[in-house]
Symmetry: C2
Subunit: 242 residues, 2 copies
DNA sequence: ACTCATTTATGAGTAGCGTCATATATTCCG
DNA sequence: CGGAATATATGACGCTACTCATAAATGAGT
């Protein structure tokens, strides 16, 4: 059954007979309760034991349901991850966004946002890995929308930054904020994977991401004064104009 | 067993016997033979039955080895994928690169390269999916190097394109070709995942990737000729699946 | 040729994800 | 209320990736 069905009006009372989906009553309520129990149980266990070390049996037991019942609410073990983290992610995005100075330069804003996410993932790299891995394919049309919300929410924040920078005149007026935002996100996501995938160290990841983000932002700047590298003792003498 | 076996030299003080570097003997030979049989068997079965539908038992049987022996040569079923495709990928990269006009514009060269890869993956999306998924984490230090070779080889080709474009004067002289190449690759890889992960259709993927690659390349161009965007091009930049 | 340390092979065994027939609960309706 | 219809719950079971104790093979030293 689709857990994300609407009709969440427990207005109760009103014994309106049929065709009033608002008073779905006990069943609907029970279902929500169970989803909540499952989510809580899974979250706790994943944090304590890690994702792969946690068995679906354990989650079912902790949620006090039968082993098979679990799969009525999450179609697979990976679904559990999404169930657990979709809310946490959405919340995280808003939280981090809230801490960012609205008047800071675009590159700084972008990096602050991504840094917030990275620091979050750093607290539990193993789960972040599992999450990234599961996100790599959505065979489930129900969960697809949930998953898509996350990058979309991030891109939305980036669009704000880019639009503001454009309004400020920091970047060219012909820049499409959505394109720019997606571009920045693509770099973040791909680089994030190199880190979580254990291909580069955390510091190398941060360094690489910085370089690439700067590369893109520089490409959007209104004037092509190229700083030849912020090396030591840099003389920015000539604002060469093309 | 790790195919890049360390010399079975117990670091003894005595290089007692003459080593047979050329003819490591029966053991070495047998090992290579088995790796070859396993790889061939796995490749065939993956193509015929698909990755998930192929069992490790079947691969072992087809390779005429015991079920447990398989795991001496591939530490996991996913390892088999890399074993099978690392060579094929390297070859593909060179092949596609060879078909690209060296004098074409940078954006066109880049898109031709990526298109070659995309068309390859299109022939077997399910395997491509599995491959991408498996590449998302390298817990195995032995395979990591093999895996890293692929993006590195792609970036290397991109560096050639960017360098040539810079020499031609198509892009600014202060562009770092490696940064540019990595940036383009990041966009390709992240967008590829949205397609293989079933989040967007093939056509939307191509469209989105085109837009983003163009965005980056435009940012590198030597002159800020304002993108006039000379038409009411379909505002399809947001196309999503379904 | 014989010994023996080391490497390689094996398949029965284990664990865990997901399924399914069956059972139980809830709602619908006369 | 009764009883059919439908939705939800369950745990035993199937299937498969992977492990491990044991066996076989190899080759260097003697």
């Amino acid at each position: 059954m689709d857990t994300s069905s609407k009709m969440s009006k427990p207005a109760s009372a009103k014994p309106t007979k049929k065709e009033h989906p608002q008073t779905e009553g006990r069943r609907e309520r029970n279902k929500r309760e169970k989803v909540a129990r499952i989510t809580a149980a899974a979250r706790t266990l994943f944090y304590i034991k890690g994702y792969t070390e946690t068995t679906t049996q354990e989650v079912a037991e902790a949620a006090d349901i039968g082993a098979g019942t679990l799969f009525l609410y999450a179609k697979s073990k990976e679904d559990l991850l999404i169930l657990v983290f979709k809310d946490e992610m959405s919340q995280l995005i808003e939280e981090v966004y809230g801490t960012i100075r609205k008047k800071a330069p675009l590159l700084q804003q972008t990096e602050s946002l991504f840094d917030g996410f990275v620091e979050y993932h750093r607290r539990d790299v193993v789960i972040a890995r599992a999450l990234i891995r599961e996100l790599s394919f959505s065979g489930n049309s129900g969960r697809r929308k949930d998953v898509l919300k996350i990058p979309e929410a991030i891109v939305e924040k980036l669009v704000h930054f880019v639009s503001a920078a454009r309004a400020r005149g920091d970047i060219r007026a012909d820049i499409d904020p959505v394109e720019a935002a997606r571009c920045l996100f693509a770099i973040y996501y791909q680089q994030l994977q190199t880190w979580l995938g254990n291909y580069v160290s955390h510091s190398a990841f941060k360094q690489n991401m910085h370089v690439l983000l700067k590369f893109v932002v520089d490409g959007m700047s209104v004037d092509d004064e190229r700083k030849p590298e912020p090396s030591q003792n840099q003389r920015m003498s000539q604002t060469r104009k093309k």
